[in-house]
Amino acid sequence: MAKPVEIELSRLKKMLLQDKSSAPSQLAEVIKSDVYSVLTSYMDLFSDDLKVLIDCDEAGYHVIISARTHRFKQIGMLPKKQDGR
């Protein structure tokens, strides 16, 4: 079980980001859902292995996406590119 300070820290990070960006609090979840649907075409991926972190500093906003997979899909199983290239 997470310690109170870890929960507090996580809540505060989200809150401060939301205050600064006026982005909806579910933004990271929405991005995660979209990225998940794209990445699962190329690799075996569990939802818990995909992390989307939004941070900000003086330079701007940083969206950090990290995904962990044990297996990429084989060439024949990859989706065909739509523009035909």
Binding site: K3, P4, V5, E6, L9, R11, M15, L16, D19, D57
Partner: protein, 261 residues
């Protein structure tokens, strides 16, 4: 020319007035000429923290409305002759107290002192604007709690729209035992969240509550305010480590005892 520093926070009850009073005393203990200005008009408490509420004849509104000279409104501290307080008015009529009026008064006082420290009201409305627009530098006071840090962050963002240099954060009411047990945000957590340097750590301490109740600043008693004053005056960064007594085997025993008591 004096340094003009506003003590602000956004959230009320985090200890702005306590920090103002004790920082002023700690700077005066170094022999510096310090004036404390209570800009919290209508909800004045700096006079209470300094224990001078019975000595107030003229206040800041009297000075601004030219009923007296600034010197007549200043109240000298009993212990430190170089420490003076400009009390605020208990009247709610603030129409004459504009940001410009406070700025002009601050400029006048700056000619006779080394430090002008302004005690800012809570909130981010007109009172905040009045206090901040008169200062060159700002210190943001917060506690290691979620609501206070959120408000401190908003205030830091607001300060960037003024011509004010944020000197750093003062974290008040820090509990070393809770930090050591992972139940309170650490100083590093606060720095990471607010992306500013912490220049003062004030532990939760009965002496501070007692000092406030008795109308006494902690003259040279508390290292935390002496270190804060030194950090501000010299630009150093020395902080008290509140967790030190609560680390290790004996620290764990102390934490348990404190929790049970």
């Amino acid at each position: 020319m004096a340094r003009k520093i506003v003590i602000t926070s956004g959230k009320g009850g985090v200890g702005k007035t306590t920090v103002t009073a004790n920082l002023g005393a700690a700077l005066a203990a170094k022999g510096l000429r310090v004036v404390l200005m209570d800009v919290d008009i209508g909800l004045n408490n700096l006079d209470v923290a300094m224990g001078i509420e019975n000595k107030v004849v003229y206040d800041i509104v009297d000075v601004i409305e030219n009923r007296c000279r600034p010197k007549q409104a200043l109240i000298q501290d009993d212990v430190y002759s170089t420490l003076c307080t400009m009390p605020s008015s208990h009247s709610y009529d603030k129409t004459s107290v504009t940001g410009l009026a406070i700025k002009n008064l601050t400029e006048r006082l700056a000619q006779s002192f080394d430090y002008v420290i302004l005690d800012c009201p809570a909130g981010i409305e007109l009172g905040f604007h009045r206090a901040v627009s008169a200062a060159d530098e700002a210190i943001v006071v917060t506690t290691p709690h979620i609501a206070s840090i959120r408000d401190a962050d908003k205030v830091l963002n607001l300060l960037s729209t003024y011509d004010v240099v944020p000197l750093g954060i003062v974290v008040n009411r820090v509990r070393g035992d809770l930090i050591a047990s992972g139940d309170m945000l650490s100083i590093e957590n606060v720095e990471q969240l607010l992306k500013r340097q912490v220049i003062g750590v004030i532990p939760e301490n009965d002496d501070i509550s007692f000092g406030n109740a008795m109308g006494r600043t902690l003259y040279g008693v508390k290292d935390c305010f002496a270190l804060l004053a030194e950090n501000i005056h010299t630009g150093s960064r020395k902080l008290i480590d509140c967790t030190q007594p609560y680390r290790g085997f004996f620290g764990a025993i102390r934490r348990n005892i404190k929790k049970r008591v």
